[in-house]
């Protein structure tokens, strides 16, 4: 079993078992492939010149509910406004998320890991995105749904795809909680 993350003088340290690192690597890759845009960035030289190559005039709200949760509407109750905003910002948000997920995939190649503040932040973001996708696949919509899955904590409890996913979700949740606790401790020491 992985060791919990710890805040140390050298940074935040943690260690995954090889099997856990492989599993997490596969999950990170899955989320990366979900976020990779279907269309190439705008090559309009004027757009690039004014720093707006992030524009995506074709963007629409994603069909996949998990991707929609990763890239949510920024405006509620006004689909036109939400879409206009999405076209201005979605591509760079996708790129930011992919960057965090790729960075994390590299970090977990070493064990033990020692993370600086920035790496820890990207790691926590990536774990959060993985959990959002798993939660969508597990149809976690309420706090009760989440609690219901909480009991599945051991491979003995796994007898189908859903309980396997729940086990994975609980593992990633545990890992993120341990990382965030270490980050909060480091933040407290900085102040």
């Amino acid at each position: 079993m992985a060791k919990p993350f710890r805040s140390t003088r050298r940074g935040i340290t943690g260690a995954l078992e090889p099997g856990e690192a492989r599993l997490l690597g596969a999950l990170l890759d899955d989320v990366i492939s979900m976020l990779e845009p279907d269309t190439a960035p705008s090559e309009d030289p004027l757009a690039a010149l004014v720093g707006m190559s992030g524009l995506d005039a074709e963007a629409t709200a994603p069909d996949d509910s998990a991707v929609r949760r990763l890239l949510p509407d920024a405006v509620r109750g006004d689909d036109d406004e939400a879409l206009a905003f999405r076209r201005l910002t979605e591509r760079s948000l996708r790129e930011q998320k992919i960057g965090a997920l790729r960075g994390t995939a590299l970090l977990i190649e070493s064990s033990p890991m020692t993370l600086n503040d920035e790496q820890a932040r990207l790691f926590a973001q990536a774990l959060n995105d993985v959990r959002l996708v798993l939660a969508d696949r597990l149809s976690i919509e309420t706090e009760e749904d989440a609690e219901h899955l909480h009991d599945i904590a051991d491979s003995k409890d796994v007898d189908d795809v859903e309980s396997y996913l729940a086990l994975v979700y609980n593992f990633v949740t545990w890992l993120q909680e341990s990382l965030v606790q270490a980050m909060l401790k480091a933040t407290r020491l900085d102040r």
Binding site: R76, T89, R121, N128
Partner: protein, 105 residues
């Protein structure tokens, strides 16, 4: 959870300003609203409020609990440009955030 009453002074001031003046859209303060969801960890949401907005541990916790218990919380206010930027930043953290005119709720 007791004794956590800090943090809403700024929000209250700006809202009153909106009510008392007839201003153009551009002048009106906007807010970023964070919505509850069953996935994001309470510790993580507090961490984001502390590190991204620079809020104290107590203020971050108050806002996080407001999201958790009331389903939503206006966590920051400002110009339209600022709240747009903050909303996207919160999306990069995976929080479920939207922006709206202050006082729309």
């Amino acid at each position: 959870m007791a004794g956590m009453t800090v943090g809403f002074a700024t929000g209250t001031d700006t809202r009153e300003e909106v009510r008392t003046e007839e201003k153009t859209d551009l002048d009106q303060p906007w807010v970023v609203v964070v919505w509850n969801d069953p996935v994001n960890l309470m510790s993580y949401v507090s961490y984001v409020f502390q590190t991204y907005f620079g809020y104290s541990e107590a203020k971050a916790r108050t806002l996080m609990l407001e999201v958790h218990e009331q389903g939503r919380s206006a966590v920051v206010s400002g110009s339209r440009e600022k709240v747009e930027q903050d909303t996207v930043a919160l999306h990069s953290y995976g929080l479920w955030a939207t922006f709206e005119k202050a006082g729309s709720e």
